[in-house]
Symmetry: D2
Subunit: 108 residues, 4 copies
């Protein structure tokens, strides 16, 4: 399968998508929701592009490197925002995003 | 994380998405492409709904069971079509779809 | 084009997607964000399924009616939540969702 | 609404998505399907990224310009491939893609 060379990246993208969507869900349940606004917004952006890139890799898209470049940027922005917040889900999301940004850069 | 109870389903959905997208890509490279038309169409349908459900589960969507019902149906239809073709990628896709249909039925 | 019979539905889905995503963005800017939590969650759910169904119709998916049934349900749930809030973007979103739910029911 | 400034772009993206998905469906019904393989592949790529960008614009994504740059590239590649084929759906798709590429370049 053409996407086997990207097996590690697929795993990293999946974990980042899951961490972002979990953070999105958890932020919506926080008491201090107002200060999580940008986190909620960026969690959605990041989860969506990671899922998109995952699918693109598995269908052997000719545009993986261009998409990975955008994905890396979005992951970095989401990581920066999440890092500001002490909630476990935010810190875990920041970690997943940083790891994913690096993995995306390597194929971009 | 709310989606941890669905960890096994997430893995099955991901494998089905990857198998369908790989089969889509491989069908486009076959010599006998004309007879693969419905396979190509259904591979796309099935990969897309599996990716959609995966994302929905991780964001703790209130509509997981309704989406899983549709996903099961699409997986079954794709499995039936793939089963007709001898290519390895079709048979592997049919297996992944059947497994995924069953997993989706269990949460639908 | 096979999707021409669905031209009106496509327009309604697009308007609902746009209204939900606008409401999502606007909710994230409200002062009383905490009380908008479910609205934010459902706006995303509804925008995503409307976009999904729009794409499915244009590619002549064999699963339009099943997807439309789920879409109608999600639109209705989102409409109910939005209706509770006085913000213009919520009321406009509720209107778009109700109209879309009805259109989806007619093809489901 | 933040996306009102992009109203024309949204319309162009929607038309391109619909043209690509119609071309995908129509290619799967052609007798000379084998020579349409790259067209089928690129129709899917292009429809998916147009739908993605449409949604991103309506939710006021901070990444519209980066996504529009990738979208423009994908539209151009799809237009080039479609232009090679005489089928009406291919020529119409090429036109929609060229128009969309230009519109995307203007916000990239």
């Amino acid at each position: 399968m053409p996407h086997h060379q990207h097996q590690e990246l697929l795993k990293t993208l999946h974990e980042c998508m899951a961490a972002c969507n979990h953070c999105f869900d958890a932020c919506l349940k926080e008491e201090d929701m107002k200060m999580m606004a940008e986190c909620i917004r960026l969690d959605r952006e990041c989860a969506d592009i990671c899922a998109y890139l995952e699918a693109a890799i598995t269908r052997n898209s000719p545009f993986v490197s261009q998409l990975a470049r955008v994905c890396a940027q979005i992951c970095e922005t989401c990581a920066e925002e999440c890092r500001k917040h002490d909630h476990d889900h935010c810190q875990e999301c920041a970690d997943a995003c940083m790891k994913c940004a690096e993995a995306c850069r390597s194929v971009a």
